[in-house]
């Protein structure tokens, strides 16, 4: 490599279930250049220093949502975070907080995926619509009501930022509730009542205490805290008016 090559120390939280009782830190000295991401640093470790280090990655350009990890304690996409910003101090990478560690930097996403399926993350039309009726029309303002919340890439950084999820994994969590709001807020959708059965439960919007860190760490500007908390008002109105509004009682 070039003469301006620098060496950075990367501490990796290792966990190999077949040999480690609990996670342990292991330090690697990685030569790097200013254009290298943390993910590239890990790839260097895997290719040249220690082939046993496990981590997830795919696109390398902040759209697949695979490479989220704790970098110096903050949830970040490792492809979007650069080694140069941690030089000369070095950095520590750990598996995403609040999620079970499967191996090294790989977390168990089962809970997330199960919840994701449960909220019906697709448009449920208000009424059946024939092809000849044409496309759905939507004004730019109607689109603005949900567009931001549709940018989620399921990277789970917001789950690593949410202490309420960490304290109580039954809580649906920021990302999926934001996605739920994305469909509920879509003018073409009519599935609010079905989805809000979960939304109005303790495991739904009410599990949130408005910490707000989820929105801070989101690499796509989704703002889950807003998606969730604006629904508390709706949920409260529904709670108090359900007996006087037609069809409001539900469960």
């Amino acid at each position: 490599m070039a003469e301006n090559e620098k060496i950075i120390e990367i501490e990796v939280l290792r966990y190999r279930p077949e040999q480690d009782k609990e996670p342990v830190l292991q330090t690697y000295k990685v030569p790097f250049t200013d254009d290298m991401s943390v993910l590239q640093g890990l790839q260097y470790i895997k290719d040249y220093l220690d082939g046993t280090v496990s981590f997830r990655w795919s696109c390398r350009m902040a759209i697949c949502g695979s490479c989220g990890m704790m970098i110096d304690g903050k949830p970040k996409l490792s492809c979007k975070t650069f080694l140069r910003d941690y030089y000369p101090g070095g950095l520590r990478v750990e598996a995403l907080a609040h999620l079970p560690i499967e191996r090294d930097l790989v977390v168990d996403a089962t809970d997330f995926v199960t919840k994701l399926e449960s909220i019906k993350p697709y448009i449920i039309p208000k009424e059946p619509r024939a092809l000849e009726q044409g496309e759905y029309l939507q004004t730019p303002q109607q689109r603005d009501m949900y567009e931001q919340f549709s940018s989620c890439i399921n990277c789970m950084l917001c789950y690593a930022a949410c202490p309420q999820y960490g304290l109580n994994p039954k809580f649906t969590g920021p990302g999926i509730l934001a996605l739920m709001h994305r469909y509920n807020a879509d003018s073409r959708d009519g599935g609010q009542a079905e989805r809000n059965e979960l939304g109005y439960a303790d495991e739904g919007y009410w599990g949130c205490t408005a910490v707000g860190y989820c929105s801070e760490v989101c690499p796509k500007g989704v703002d889950p805290a807003n998606a969730i908390n604006q629904n508390k008002m709706n949920s409260a109105i529904n709670y108090f008016t359900r007996f006087v509004t037609p069809g409001g009682a539900g469960k």
Binding site: Y15, P17, E18, E22, P23, G73, K74, A97, H98, P100, I101, E102, D108, Q141, D144, M145, P163, G166, L167, T209, A210, V211, G212, Y213, S215, E216, D223, A225, N226, N229, Q230, K232, M233
Partner: protein, 131 residues
């Protein structure tokens, strides 16, 4: 069978992990002082109901240095409450459009803080006018 043994990390001391969490906890702890202040007022009200001598006792108690220190702390905490309340407000409100443009978080927080300054001044002037 499988060698899976997913490791769940402890949440002990989680709020010390990130300055963001410390600010959140500070916001939540303000509630303790709001409760204490409400209890002081409740005592005053009960004393008021018990007659002049009892109420004057409460008034004298407010003049002790300890109560001054207490109220100075409470005042600072209430100011932090006001700031944090309107700071989180953009997250708790539905998206609002004004003249076709989305209302920005800074505008919402700013409006809230301005409303609070106006309301506080109004209370001060009304009380001044009554006395």
């Amino acid at each position: 069978m499988s060698n899976r043994r997913p490791y769940v990390r402890s949440m002990d001391g989680w709020w010390k992990r990130d300055p963001y969490f410390i600010r959140y906890m500070a916001r939540e702890v303000t509630a303790v002082f709001v409760a204490l202040y409400a209890i002081v007022l409740l005592f005053g009200l009960v004393r008021l109901g018990q007659g002049e001598a009892a109420f004057n006792g409460w008034l004298q108690y407010l003049k002790t240095p300890w109560m001054l220190v207490f109220h100075l702390i409470v005042l600072a905490v209430f100011c932090y409450h006001t700031w944090s309340w309107f700071n989180i407000m953009p997250k708790t409100m539905p998206i609002i459009f004004m003249g076709g443009k989305r209302l920005q978080p800074g505008t919402i927080t700013g409006t809230g803080l301005a409303a609070s300054v106006v309301a506080c001044l109004a209370v001060l002037f009304i009380v001044r006018g009554m006395s």
